[in-house]
């Protein structure tokens, strides 16, 4: 039927992203479909493909916003003298941000690009921005170490926290652990960083 143009291109883009975000928050990535998005915003499926290359493109855009959101939350954690307290505070910030809408955050790990496709550069940059904040917390614990070792230690910490929250969300750590992921994340951060600190002393 041709143009309807009740929305500017920017509005249409937001409309699509909002509807998709709702869908994922409610039903996870599995609940997302181009046709269902179109239904919800009263456009035809084809219209989505004027705005996004395909569903993966759309999903990556949402993931980017989630990563940005986490970075802002981490920035709001007050700087404290004690690096260990600071680290635990950041862990709790991560947890509170990601557990607001678990299915939405899970998107980052449920979604896989097809075959050989790599994540876009801007996506890696957003991830790196978060990693920098983790490094900033790890660094004071290992003053004698090289930047490479600090990066590596930060990656391990990040991956560990992710592992706990992701298993908790998927109910694959549940039975025994009915208290939620909080204490587990605290334990990981405390013990792991204490171990790092000790190794730093021993090695110097």
């Amino acid at each position: 039927m041709g143009r309807r143009s009740s929305h500017t291109p920017e509005e249409l883009r937001e409309l699509i992203l909002d509807a998709s975000t709702d869908l994922i928050s409610e039903c996870g990535l599995g609940g997302l479909s181009a046709r269902e998005i179109a239904r919800r915003i009263n456009y035809s499926p084809g219209t989505l493909y004027n705005v996004f290359e395909n569903l993966d493109d759309l999903v990556l855009t949402i993931e980017g916003r989630l990563i940005d959101g986490l970075a802002s939350e981490l920035d709001r954690v007050p700087e404290q003298g004690d690096p260990m307290r600071q680290a635990r505070a950041m862990g709790r910030a991560y947890l509170s941000y990601t557990s607001k809408q678990p299915k939405l955050w899970n998107l980052l790990f449920e979604h896989h690009l097809p075959a050989g496709r790599d994540v876009p550069v801007w996506y890696q940059q957003k991830l790196d921005a978060v990693m920098q904040r983790v490094e900033a917390v790890v660094a004071p614990m290992m003053p004698q170490s090289s930047p490479e070792d600090i990066t590596q230690s930060a990656h391990v910490l990040w991956a560990g926290v992710h592992g706990i929250t992701s298993l908790a969300t998927a109910d694959k750590l549940a039975v025994v652990t009915s208290n939620g992921a909080g204490p587990l994340v605290d334990l990981l951060i405390s013990a792991y960083l204490a171990g790092l600190k000790q190794a730093g002393k021993a090695g110097s």
Copy 2:
């Protein structure tokens, strides 16, 4: 056309599981489809539903075999005097088992049961069997602690190792970490357990 019966029920079951396992090893969970399985084994799609309740049932069966396989691998790790060496050896066993067919192992975390469905009891039991082996390694590091604390510490370690391997497999930890997950897992195990040990001493 009615029965063909060139295979016994057990053979048919294995046929289906083998074809599905191949499909997942090659293309991940996304590459699995009832119709494609049927094509590969020269049966009609409907036949699958005489043997399995649905695709989730089939996938859970495969997951169960993977968990059993890991348990056997962990059992082959020789007992050593030094608990720390033992722990690292188990970490490497995990890594070598799961990285043989990364897409297959990834199945455990890519696959989610619909809505409110819970994992079956036998599945939890298989997982628990693996967790017991992890606890056996953690326990000597914290002799003063309650069984609950040991369980919790083992869960954290398990989740941490999972987090590293899963991010590495998904290429979401890649850029900086081109050496593979091995050193990261070693670092996690060493630092985390050292921290646990230290806390045990301090707390008693």
